[in-house]
Amino acid sequence: MRRRAGVGAIQKQKLEQEKYREKGSEIQENQFQQMSKQLEVFRENLEEFATKHKSEIKKNAQFRRQFQEMCAAIGVDPLASGKGFWSVLGIGDFYYELGVQIVEVCLATNYKNGGLITLEELRNRLIAARGKAKKHQDITNEDLLAAVKKLRIFGNGFSVVPIGKGKWLVQSVPGELNLDQTLVLQKASSLGTAWVSASILTDDLGWNETRAQNALNHMVKEGLAWVDTQETKETLYWFPSMFAECVSA
C-alpha cells in the first residue's frame, strides 16, 4: 500500500532546507571574512612596501616603472586617487609635481614653438630646471607620458602626439590635431628636416594637392608652422619645435 505524504514529512523537508540554507550562508560569511582578511593583509603589505620604498620609488626611475607595472598588473592605479590609502605613498604627488613642471616648461617655451614641444626637449628642460635641488630624480619618458596623461583632466589643452618610433610631441595649445596633421608632423620628424612641403606630402603619402594644402594651412593657422617662400621650388613649412637651434635656444 502506498503511503500518502504526511504533514510530518513536509515539515521535515522544510527543516532540512532551512538548515542547508543556514549552513550555506555560514560558509559564505566565512569566505567573505577570509577574503576581506586577505585583502586587508595585501593592502597592509602593499602600503608597507610603498612607504618603505617611497623614497626609492621617487628616486629610482627603473624601480618606479616596475612598481607601476606591478600595480597595473593587479589592476591598481596609484595615480587614480589623491585620497585614501594611496595618498600616503606620495606616488601621485610625484606625478602631480611633474605635471605642474611640464605645464611650466610648455608655457615658457610657447613663445618660440607655438605650443608644440618634443618629449626629448621637454625632458631636457625639466631635468635642467629640477637639476640642483633634486639631483637623483632622473625622469624617464614613461614618467612624462604618465604625467601628461593626468593633465588631460583639464580638457584637451594638453595631449601627446606620437610621431614615430619612440618619439612624441607634447601639444600644449587647445584644439586637437586631426589625423592628417599628425601625419604631417610624423613626416617632418621622420625626414629630420623640421620642414615639409605640399609635394612631399603628395608624393610620399599619396595625398592629393587639396588635402596636403589644407593640412598645412591649418597648421599655419594654429601657429604651429612657419611659412618660407624663399625656396625657388615651392613653399616650405617649418616646425620650430623640431628645429635644432630653436630646441637648444
Partner: protein
C-alpha cells in the same frame, strides 16, 4: 662684421618671410626688433637705409640663402615705429632712425645724468655729452647726434632744457 650673437631665428629660414598668421607674425616682428636693435648697438649705427640694407648681413643670411625683402623690412620698421622705436627721416620712408630707447627715454636718461651731477642751470655742449670723459659710463655716450638732438627737444618741450646754437657747435642749458 660686428660680433653679435645671432639668435636662433637668424638661422631659421622662414624668419625671413613675413608670416601670414598674426600671432606667429607678432613673435617674428618682436624677434626682428630685438635683433635690429642689438645689431645697430654693436655696430654703433642708428640709421637703416632700406635700399642698401639688403647687403647688410643683418637682413641677408648668406649661409642659409635667405634675405628679408625691402617690403618686409618696411613692415618690421613700421611696426617698430608704432612703439616709438623707429621713425622715418624722409618722406618715401627709405631711411629710418632706430632708437633702442624711445626719444623720451633717452631724454630722461640725459636729464637724470644732469641732475645726478649737479649740472642744472649750466650750459653743456652736445660734444661734451656725447664724447666727454664724464659720460663714458652713460648709455647715451656716443649716441648719434641727430638722435641726441631729438631727445633733447623732447626735454625742451617739457621745459627741462633749452637748446642753443653757438658759432660752430650746439649747446644745451638744463633747468
Amino acid at each position: 662684421m660686428a660680433e653679435i650673437s645671432w639668435p636662433w631665428q637668424y638661422n631659421f629660414p622662414p624668419f625671413f618671410t613675413i608670416q601670414p598668421h598674426s600671432e606667429t607674425r607678432a613673435k617674428q616682428l618682436e624677434a626682428w626688433e630685438q635683433l635690429i636693435i642689438e645689431y645697430l648697438k654693436a655696430t654703433k649705427q642708428s640709421t637703416i637705409d632700406i635700399r642698401e640694407s639688403q647687403n647688410s648681413p643683418l637682413f641677408n643670411n648668406t649661409s642659409i640663402n635667405r634675405k628679408l625683402s625691402q617690403d618686409a623690412i618696411l613692415t618690421v620698421l613700421e611696426d617698430m615705429g608704432k612703439t616709438g622705436k623707429a621713425a622715418p627721416i624722409d618722406k618715401s620712408k627709405t631711411i629710418w632712425e632706430i632708437y633702442w630707447h624711445s626719444l623720451d627715454e633717452w631724454g630722461n636718461m640725459v636729464y637724470n645724468y644732469v641732475c645726478n651731477n649737479g649740472l642744472n642751470n649750466t650750459v653743456c655742449t652736445l660734444f661734451e655729452l656725447r664724447e666727454g670723459e664724464n659720460t663714458v659710463d652713460e648709455e647715451f655716450h656716443g649716441l648719434d647726434m641727430n638722435v641726441l638732438v631729438k631727445a633733447l627737444k623732447t626735454l625742451e618741450l617739457k621745459g627741462k632744457c633749452e637748446l642753443m646754437e653757438f658759432d660752430d657747435s650746439q649747446g644745451v642749458k638744463f633747468f
